[in-house]
């Protein structure tokens, strides 16, 4: 085996290991927790009449990926959903003062 071939093979091994490590880096229970957080934030945003329509579909996608045991994907969808609802809550907060700037003068 030539040296460059060896390096290439090694690279391939690293590739396979690293991608499988990444795929198993997130556990099922971590995904479930991330989904639970996303759902909690979704409800919180609804309670202040600020729910975004972008959040719930992401939770659905997370659940679907979880069923397929695609934990990486599931986790990333759940996090995106949480982030959208967090931004919605931030919007609700900012607007507590900001809304009045809209009033016609």
């Amino acid at each position: 085996m030539k040296k460059s071939q060896l390096i290439r093979t090694l690279g391939l091994v690293v590739f396979i290991i690293s991608s499988s490590v990444l795929a198993h880096g997130i556990t099922q229970s971590q995904v479930e927790q991330a989904i639970a957080t996303a759902e909690k934030l979704l409800i919180q945003s609804a309670q202040v009449d600020h729910q975004w329509s972008t959040a719930e579909p992401l939770i659905k996608q997370a659940k679907k990926a979880l069923q397929l045991k695609q934990y990486e994907n599931a986790y990333s969808f759940a996090q995106k959903a949480s982030q959208q609802s967090t931004l919605a809550l931030k919007q609700a907060d900012t607007e507590q003062a900001n809304w009045a700037l809209n009033l016609p003068k």
Partner: protein, 115 residues
């Protein structure tokens, strides 16, 4: 040195392939397409842009951008979060609210500087 780059490239490839599948659809779109697409930038809803069909007239026409926005960061800031400058701006905060990702916004910027 050169010999070591191969595995590094593989790892990078592995990382990209694993972490960024969601970005693939956007990476295939040009800046102009992202700006025009109704579910992406939808800039035409409010701005007249060269080549754009049936633009709205809510915001100013996007013309001679290089002369008017010599500072790329200032242009990016307007698209990232227009409410910093004008707290009741009708323009959606594309970056802040994650309507578009950074790659998409950079592509739009490149496109705007061709106008």
């Amino acid at each position: 040195m050169k010999k070591n780059t191969t595995p590094v490239a593989f790892i990078l490839l592995a990382l990209t392939a694993t972490l960024l599948p969601g970005l693939l659809s956007a990476t295939e779109m040009t800046g102009k397409e992202i700006a025009f697409d109704r579910s992406k930038g939808n800039c035409l809803a409010c701005h007249a842009i060269e080549d754009g069909d049936m633009p709205g007239n809510i915001g100013p026409p996007l013309i001679v951008m290089k002369a008017r926005f010599p500072d790329r960061a200032a242009l990016k800031a307007q698209i990232w979060d227009a409410t910093v400058k004008n707290p009741i701006s009708i323009m959606p905060p594309f970056g802040k609210h994650e309507i578009l990702n950074d790659t998409e916004i950079e592509k739009i910027l490149d496109y705007l500087y061709t106008l």
